[in-house]
């Protein structure tokens, strides 16, 4: 082929690739092939335990909107009631809820996957183009990210919210444009981030923020101007504002009930090729979770062999380093986890998801470079053709991964609908999807954060609302709905109305005062006849929604073409972007809400000194913590042992400490552990008041095979949310020391 014909052929192909209609047809075909196994089982329910819970969140939102005509703020169908919008893993706060409402929860899940694949392919194409790739290269390389392993494997576990990562290239594209002075970029980045936040999950947004920050650094290195800094700040403000409808509730929830993650997850170097390139023999038995495919290697190497690719290569290196987690020293992941929101990330290998995007950029640039060289150098033509052919062949590997991952699922028939009055049931979180459709809530609860849940919730009540003093009168439920309860109450004396749901500060009543009764939703009512209406109207939801509305208006103003008019100055852009946050603050100030108070404990958490009957130890640990005393008592009837450890924080305390507790049977059988991160499950050591006794009560269950054995109990401190190291005992006091732990008591049997 002559150089002229070669160049003409490429020009035609490139022109075709730039036509949106051609891309739409091509990407729709790819998305359809990838999602076909999911579409073919769209009517069935994924039986996996996580899927049960996540399906239930979406189905509860659908029921609340479709059957009750309410915004799905409160979800009464799980855990005894929780703030649906504040639960990080629910995904209903997204435009895809429309699909759920139209097609039903199960069928819409597959269509949601298809929609995100399509959006991700186009977003990746545009991002690759923005990084200098030509049309054809971007068209062929886009699937390396948008059809990568995570999107094939996430549905296997029911983790639909991982599809939020498909918006990553859109967010980065917006940031790149914003940093180059195009104000529409701010709106694009903010819309992508807001959608990502609304679609839920705990990884997509934090990882996107890291990559956006990398874009800012890269731009500053090339062009160190203050305009770049103001554009970055404006983008961050608008992102926060547009995402506030969901970000605010999630922040509120996690600040009240922080997700505590310990341990030191990591991956060995040798595991990464399998995760990224697939296993041999391919896909047997495991599917490849972060598959990019070996087909990207030739084009990727061609793209990497350029000086301009240094920032991308640094990004690839950083992602790999992060993905190794704690397996490598020094650990970049450990460093990242020192930043507050990132301490809630557990799995470092998630950084292989953005790595796939960077690899796609390298591959697209590689093809573009070879195409440019082919005009003058003969060797570059076959090289380009070979790289393009291998990249195209890589599609079959990616498609196979989708098929293999979908085949691993256990699909069952969907839950049966039973129309009857709502009640809380003891339920079962392993089968959580079955309860909502049968008008029941599952008290049995699992979440990634400690859901504020009342111990007094019951799954056997005849009425979900009752009086604390039953002799004080009657309470009859007139109307039940997720966000509103209507009751007729007749009282001969003042008393407390209890609702068999969890309390939240967003609940309001038209009569009396809403209170937290050991975690239960309750209303203190005066004597008399009352028509009581309880409504859930959370400040974070309302003010967050208004903030988002204002941010959308600001985003439209920023994106609006300014034909013939002067471009907005940096100060005006910054003011427009930050303005919605002011709207939110104003709305919040107008809508007071009682302060959140953690439920009272059975014993006072903080005391002036240990109980008189406790055994003095006065052992000092490094990290500024003293174990003052301990006491052990056994309840033979209930087969439990109560252990109280009395700690004191003398001065500044090392962050992220937790307690380890070893139970060592005297017969030398296997040691049992009862590690815990908080004092009496309620207070982190670094938050504890100085100089006071902190009463850490642990109730140990005695399993049948241990009921005739004597035990020794040992306790110590370790960096549970850090590197896992034990704190050394600096002074044993009156205690006995072994392996950096103190003997805190024993259960003796004859």
């Amino acid at each position: 082929m002559t150089a002229a014909r070669w160049a003409q052929g490429l020009r035609v192909a490139r022109r075709w690739a730039l036509l949106p209609s051609v891309r739409f047809a091509w990407f729709a075909g790819l998305a359809l092939c990838a999602a076909w196994p999911l579409l073919s089982t769209a009517a069935a329910l994924n039986d996996f335990r996580d899927s049960q819970v996540l399906f239930q969140y979406e189905e509860s939102a659908r029921k609340t909107v479709a059957e009750f005509g309410q915004i799905p703020w409160w979800n009464p169908y799980y855990c005894g009631g929780l703030y649906g919008l504040g639960t990080p893993q629910s995904r209903f706060a997204s435009p895809t809820l429309l699909l759920t409402l139209v097609f039903g929860t199960a069928r819409a899940e597959a269509l949601t996957a298809l929609a995100f694949l399509l959006i991700g392919l186009e977003g990746t194409f545009r991002y690759l183009r923005s990084r200098g790739a030509r049309g054809l290269g971007a068209l062929l390389a886009a699937p390396a990210f948008a059809l990568s392993g995570v999107f094939a494997c996430a549905p296997f576990l029911g983790w639909t919210n991982f599809y939020g990562f498909e918006l990553l290239p859109w967010a980065l594209l917006g940031v790149r444009r914003a940093l180059r002075g195009r104000t529409a970029g701010l709106a694009l980045a903010a819309a992508a981030v807001a959608w990502m936040v609304g679609f839920g999950g705990t990884y997509a947004v934090p990882l996107t923020a890291v990559l956006c920050a990398a874009e800012v650094v890269e731009r500053l290195v090339h062009r160190p101007r203050w305009q770049v800094v103001t554009a970055a700040a404006a983008t961050a403000f608008l992102c926060a504002g547009m995402a506030a409808y969901r970000l605010w509730p999630v922040w509120e929830t996690l600040s009240r009930a922080p997700r505590v993650l310990g341990g030191m997850s990591g991956n060995e170097w040798r595991s990464l090729p399998g995760l990224l390139l697939g296993y041999w023999p391919w896909f047997h038995p495991p599917v490849a979770w972060y598959l990019v495919g070996a087909g990207v290697i030739p084009a990727g190497l061609a793209g990497a062999a350029r000086r301009r690719s240094i920032p991308l290569l640094l990004g690839v290196f950083a992602c790999l380093w992060l993905a190794l987690g704690y397996q490598v020293v020094p650990s970049l992941f450990a460093l990242l986890r020192r930043i507050p929101p990132y301490e809630m990330l557990r799995y470092p290998e998630r950084f292989l998801i953005p790595l796939a995007l960077l690899v796609a950029v390298l591959a697209a640039k590689g093809l573009s470079v070879l195409a440019a060289r082919a005009r003058r150098r003969r060797w570059a033509r076959p090289a380009w053709a070979a790289c393009a052919a291998v990249l195209a062949a890589n599609l079959s590997i990616l498609m196979f991964n989708f098929r293999a991952a979908a085949a691993e699922r256990t699909m069952v028939s969907p839950p049966v609908e039973v129309d009857r009055p709502f009640h809380q049931a003891r339920g079962n979180r392993w089968a959580a999807a079955y309860y909502g459709p049968m008008s029941r809530g599952s008290l049995s609860c699992w979440e990634a954060y400690p859901v504020p849940q009342a111990p007094a919730l019951r799954g056997d009540l005849a009425s979900e609302e009752y009086l604390k003093d039953a002799a004080a009168g009657t309470a009859v439920e007139r109307r039940w709905s997720p966000n509103r309860l209507d009751l007729s109450v007749h009282l001969t004396q003042p008393t407390r109305l209890l609702v068999n749901q969890n309390h939240h500060t967003g609940w309001k009543a038209n009569v009396g005062a809403v209170v937290n009764d050991s975690g239960l939703l309750a209303v203190d009512l005066p004597a008399g006849d009352h028509e009581v209406t309880l409504k859930f109207l959370p400040r974070s939801g309302v003010a967050g929604g208004l903030t988002t509305l204002a941010a959308i208006i600001a985003g439209v103003a920023l994106a609006w073409p300014r034909k013939g008019r002067a471009a907005l100055g940096p100060a005006a852009v910054l003011a427009l972007a930050a303005g919605p946050l002011g709207v939110g603050a104003f709305a919040a100030a107008l809508m007071p809400e009682p302060a959140f108070v953690r439920s009272a404990l059975d014993v006072p958490l903080v005391a002036d000194s240990p109980p008189a009957e406790a055994r003095r130890l006065d052992a000092t640990f490094e990290g500024g913590v003293v174990l003052e005393a301990s006491s052990v008592s056994e309840n033979v009837d209930e087969h439990t042992v109560r252990l109280e450890l009395d700690w004191k924080v003398a001065g500044p305390v090392a962050p992220h400490l937790g307690f380890f507790l070893h139970v060592e049977p005297a017969d030398g059988s296997k040691r049992l552990t009862a590690d815990h991160p908080m004092v009496s499950d309620a207070l982190f050591l670094e938050e504890a008041p100085k100089g006071k006794t902190l009463r850490d009560v642990v109730v140990l269950s005695v399993p049948p095979e241990h009921r005739k054995l004597s035990w020794n109990l040992w306790a110590g401190l370790w960096a549970v949310r850090g590197d896992g190291a034990r704190m050394k005992v600096l002074s044993p006091g009156k205690g006995r020391v072994s392996e950096d732990r103190i003997h805190v008591g024993a259960v003796e049997r004859k």
Binding site: L19, S21, V22, F24, A25, A28, G29, L32, W36, L39, S40, A42, A43, C79, F103, A110, L111, L114, L261, G262, G263, M411, V412, S413, P415, V416, H423, A425, R426, N428, R429, W430, A431, Y434, M438, R440, L443, S444, C445, W446, E447, A448, P450, V451, Q453, P455, R458, G459, D460, A462, G519, L661, T673, D675, V699, L700, P703, P704, V720, R721
Partner: protein
């Protein structure tokens, strides 16, 4: 003109492919479910599952010594297994077995050996490790 036609054709192709996807999702078959549970079997299902509650909870105790939520969660995993085993062996719907457990617990259906199922759950405390 030719480019416009091709452009139009590509849009139409893309829309048709999306249409195929929607059609496939709408026509995907519902997996065959078992028969509804006969009225008399509910009590048997409840007894089959709930009568083992003490045993299942004691097993969970050994797995999670000082973690009430994990003990309860472990018990619920066993309960689910037992409930779905009953559904499979009696060829009845899973939903109906779960409903029978709820009905039995709520109405206090009698159980052998004085087993008294708990109607409460410990608050959710996911394990930090």
């Amino acid at each position: 003109m030719k480019t416009k036609l091709i452009d139009l054709g590509c849009w139409a192709t893309g829309l048709a492919l999306v249409g195929v996807a929607v059609g496939r999702a709408l026509t995907a078959p519902v997996p065959p479910d078992a028969a509804p549970m006969p009225a008399g079997v509910a009590d048997e299902a409840y007894r089959f599952v709930a009568s083992e509650e003490t045993v299942m909870r004691e097993k969970a105790m050994a797995n999670f010594l000082a973690d009430p939520w994990s003990q309860d969660d472990d018990f619920h995993a066993s309960e689910r297994g037992r409930a779905f085993d009953f559904a499979a062996s009696h060829k009845v719907r899973r939903s109906d077995v779960l409903r029978a457990i709820d009905d039995g617990l709520r109405s206090g259906w009698p159980l052998p050996n004085g087993v008294r199922p708990r109607a409460t759950v410990p608050p959710c405390r996911p394990r930090p490790l």
